[in-house]
Symmetry: C2
Subunit: 289 residues, 2 copies
Amino acid sequence: MLYIIGLGLGDEKDITLKGLEAVRRCDKVYIEAYTSLLSFGISSDGLSKLEELYGRPVTLADREMVEERADVVLSEARRSDVAFLVVGDPFGATTHSDLVVRAKSLGLEVKVIHNASVMNAVGVCGLQLYRYGETISIPFFTETWRPDSFYEKIQRNRQLGLHTLCLLDIRVKEPSLESLCRGRKCYEPPKYMTINIAIEQLLEVEQTRGESAYSAETICVGIARLGSDDQQVVAGSMKELQAVDFGAPLHCLVIVGETHPVEEEMLNFYALKMETMKSKGDLTNSGSV
Amino acid sequence: MLYIIGLGLGDEKDITLKGLEAVRRCDKVYIEAYTSLLSFGISSDGLSKLEELYGRPVTLADREMVEERADVVLSEARRSDVAFLVVGDPFGATTHSDLVVRAKSLGLEVKVIHNASVMNAVGVCGLQLYRYGETISIPFFTETWRPDSFYEKIQRNRQLGLHTLCLLDIRVKEPSLESLCRGRKCYEPPKYMTINIAIEQLLEVEQTRGESAYSAETICVGIARLGSDDQQVVAGSMKELQAVDFGAPLHCLVIVGETHPVEEEMLNFYALKMETMKSKGDLTNSGSV
């Protein structure tokens, strides 16, 4: 049996009881390492917090391993119970459909244990999930690669009055260009896009396209470390959010569409510079909502 | 402190460790009863399974109570730790923004503990979450009330090649019209829309509107009891799915947009009548994915 178990967004205690019982039953436990394990306190010296909780050794599975050695994982799952742990939900922002398809093609039983992902937890900012349009991803621009197909999607969402969730690029274990040229793989240090960089790129694309899909005045919500104890949610214009230090990754950004009164009330609590906030103390929101 | 804790979609074991620790710390525990508690095995004789797990008495809070007695809940939360439990995620399909806004206006600290909701767990059917457009709700039609504003939304999503998640109506503790006329409240038995009724209504609206937003041949995915052990996922045309018995609630429906190859492979596993499935045994999928 192959268990694919969502770990949620915060730390090791965001696993569900069902997930924990399953992982404790498994003979072999893998954890995907190609999105982000930052908030799970996983460092180079191992996965001690998770391993302690599970009472099982945990093997880090990077993208290479999952792609190149999936057969090994799947043949283990044929003989015994194997857990594949993923940050967030197994079918959240990063999906594991490939692994499921391969497992099912081999006639393996696959059991999914769900958890929160950015795709639903983003609701915490007060914008209703059913008022979101298509989700977009913003990749790191390079000198030669500046893909901006997200522009039309934002434009469309805004024309329909819908909010846009922007997922920001994560680069983990990318082979460095230099090392590829030399024929041996060395890896770049992990790189996480900040809200500030995302807005900079968004405004650059708007300037190039010039169709006023959005502007520096467009209201957005910046969310850092969603679901963690030190989560930070700040609402303001793109220009205003560009000046905010959101701290450690992960970051994501919501471009706000048309709002309903209850949505506005919630945004007010997170507003950076609105008059209504002045009497309420905290300008940003850390930890709890 | 007010904790708003998501319970996930399956049963009492879908709470997270963090959620369980919080609820065990609380002096008073409420559970919202105005969506669906079906899968949590909650019957008229009480909330025994949950109460046993939490070691705390749990109070059922219906919509009336939350609306009329929110002040009581909030003033308890001012003096002590109070948990408000919700099925799915606190900001999933049913949002609890109102309660949060009221709590924050009173200066109360609010802590949200996320979990899976239909909005992300629907990813299990293999369609990528970032390829969904606006989510729609399909209400029960009555003789005199047949709102069809979802039609334009489906049309728009399909024009853009996006999938549409359809949330199906739940009627819990609705005062009966007869009882309202008599001046005392009696309640209708709970009513959950099936996939079959949803498709019937969708096709009726298409017939009235006649703009070919979709048809009886449009491919959909019907999902029953999402996230539960006896979850059922079936892909097929509207006409085909109309003939499937999906069993007990809750049901939801996805109207499929343009698909990518990996999405198609996953849909094949759930397909009702595709040639490719014939050799693979199970036509529908129960329990595991």
